[in-house]
């Protein structure tokens, strides 16, 4: 009898699969001249076609900015002075990375699942070359995470996802003012018993608009015009101030 029950349960498994439905407060972030950061509200629900399983679900939300290639340098004391003596090149590191979860990460996520989906910040950074007497890459990766965490570019918000009735979840992520332009990716993972049950991703476009857009495009596509414009503005401002002051002095 018990065996039959288990068999039936196994058969029913696909139908019982739980799916995430994702919502974002906005799928576009416009960088204007007075841009001062943005709060992103991520919410959603778990869609299921069968009763809930015994083990509770957990939710992990990640938001990743466009990847950059960068070098982390370390100053060493050589020849009496402190200088950048060694560096590790990171093939790709997200310019922004926020991770929010409904419970402490170590308790809810297995190593293998983290490896498979690159969920933690550490996994999102790929290191390649080492120059100088760098020693371990790990130390440099930790330094990168530490520096960017300080700037609010990397965030770990354990337990910051509120998850109600095993169905509705929501979290808020603060994006700082020093954002890089590009496509950001939001991912939601549903986790049960340290295994990823289901996940979805959705893009967020971070774009400069208006004057910011115009100047940025001009500087890349018409760099000579842009350069001459900069100098013209400088000369005009210099002349303008000088004339204004002369008029002030002469009454």
């Amino acid at each position: 009898m018990v065996r039959w029950l288990i068999f039936l349960l196994l058969l029913a498994l696909p139908a019982r699969a739980e799916q995430v439905v994702l919502g974002l407060s906005h799928s576009e972030v416009s960088i204007t001249a007075d841009f001062n950061g943005s709060e992103l509200l991520i919410f959603g629900a778990v869609k299921r076609e069968a009763p809930m399983a015994d083990l509770p679900l957990q939710v992990i939300v990640t938001v990743a900015g466009p990847s950059q290639a960068l070098t982390v340098f370390r100053k060493d004391h050589t020849g009496g002075i402190w200088r950048n003596a060694s560096g590790v090149t990171m093939d790709r590191a997200p310019s922004f990375y926020a991770l929010a979860s409904s419970a402490p990460l170590d308790d809810i996520l297995s190593r293998s699942e983290n490896l498979r989906h690159d969920i933690t910040i550490k996994r999102a950074i790929r290191a390649v070359g080492i120059s100088g007497k760098a020693g371990g890459v790990g130390e440099f990766r930790e330094a990168l995470i530490r520096l960017r965490t300080r700037e609010g570019l990397y965030q770990v918000l354990e337990g910051e996802v509120s998850f109600r009735e095993q169905t509705l979840f929501r979290t808020a992520i603060t994006m700082p003012a020093n954002l890089t332009e590009g496509t950001y990716t939001t991912r939601i993972f549903l986790i049960r018993d340290q295994e990823v049950v289901n996940w979805v991703s959705s893009p967020i476009e971070v774009r400069k608009v208006g004057l910011e857009r115009f100047l940025f495009t001009l500087s890349r596509e018409q760099s000579l015009v842009y350069g001459l414009l900069s100098i013209a503005i400088a000369i005009a401002a210099g002349w303008g101030a000088s004339t204004a002051f002369r008029m002030l002095r002469n009454g």
């Binding site: 960068l70 004391h77 002075i81 950048n84 100047l215 940025f216 760099s223 100098i231 401002a237 210099g238």
Partner: protein, 305 residues
């Protein structure tokens, strides 16, 4: 009021930038230095990426120098003929300097070299000026006027002599061209207009009167830094026009005040203050090299993938 800079991709307080520009503008008008050696480190401090800071400050130097130059032109304190001769050497020098800079860049460690350049040149020039100005100040206080003897040096023996009426000099053009070239090389490597090297070089090497030196130095700085701005804009895309406008609005106003202050002060006092300023910046940079930094790691993002 926070403002987002399109090229630097950071958000900064607009009034802070106006203030920074103003402060450097005052110094630029007083001493005839472009202020590059001051504004670049200050921008780092505010959180502007180094590449953008270096490129944009050259543009701000054009503005504040132009504003100050006009004030000096009005008072006929500019030796334009000398300016052109210096510029001739300066352009050749900065072209050569960029070649050297790119070569060093390919070797890595260019940051360290720039820093060492700063420490050595600021230290030597600041130190010499400080001692000289201190002596001059003491002399003027004790009241004994020491007449400067017109020595016949190498300057007068070389060929290609030219009369520089505004400076009251009749010397060979070779020394000014060489000075201009040398300053041009350093300016390109250090990413500055070169005023702080040019001013003492004109006083001590060429024997030009201090009052004329400031205006003439500004004259040639405008061209050298304008040239550098264009190079940065077309090769590295690192000139941030919004940042530049904020800095230069403060800068041009500051430069006008600076020129007025400068006119009211004695030449020795001016030199003494400039020397103190140069030494202070040098000391700060030297300490950065000598003292263990609180954060040993730094991030360098590759521009444009």
């Amino acid at each position: 009021m926070q403002i987002y800079l399109p090229i630097a991709e950071v958000s900064v307080n607009a009034f802070l930038l106006l203030g920074l520009g103003g402060l450097v503008g005052v110094l630029s008008g007083m001493f005839g230095v472009g202020g590059g050696f001051l504004i670049t480190p200050l921008l780092f401090f505010v959180g502007i990426p180094p590449a953008v800071a270096v490129a944009t400050s050259t543009n701000q130097i054009v503005a504040s120098s132009f504003s100050a130059l006009l004030a000096h032109l009005k008072r006929k304190n500019v030796d334009i003929r000398m300016g052109w001769v210096l510029l001739l050497g300066g352009m050749a020098g900065s072209a050569a300097g960029i070649v050297v800079f790119n070569y060093l860049k390919s070797l890595g460690q260019v940051d360290l070299l720039v820093q060492l350049c700063y420490v050595v040149f600021l230290g030597v020039i600041g130190g010499l000026m400080f001692i000289e100005a201190l002596r001059a100040l003491r002399r003027s206080k004790s009241g004994t006027v020491v007449r400067k003897r017109r020595e016949r040096t190498l300057m007068h023996k070389l060929p290609l002599k030219m009369r520089f009426r505004t400076s009251g000099l009749y010397i060979s053009v070779i020394p000014p061209v060489v000075v201009g070239f040398f300053v041009g090389v350093l300016a390109a490597i250090m990413g500055v207009g070169g005023g702080f090297i040019m001013v003492p070089a004109m006083i001590y090497l060429l024997g030009m009167p201090t009052k004329v030196v400031v205006g003439t130095s500004l004259f040639q700085i405008i061209f050298v830094s304008g040239f550098t701005t264009l190079l940065h804009a077309t090769t590295n895309y690192t000139v941030d026009i919004v940042l530049a406008v904020l800095l230069l609005v403060g800068g041009v106003v500051g430069a006008q005040f600076g020129t007025t202050i400068g006119m009211k002060m004695k030449a020795e006092q001016l030199r003494f203050l400039l020397a103190a300023l140069v030494l202070a910046v040098c000391g700060k940079l030297a300490l950065d090299l000598l003292i263990e930094p609180s954060e040993r790691y730094s991030i360098a993002v590759y521009q444009g993938q």
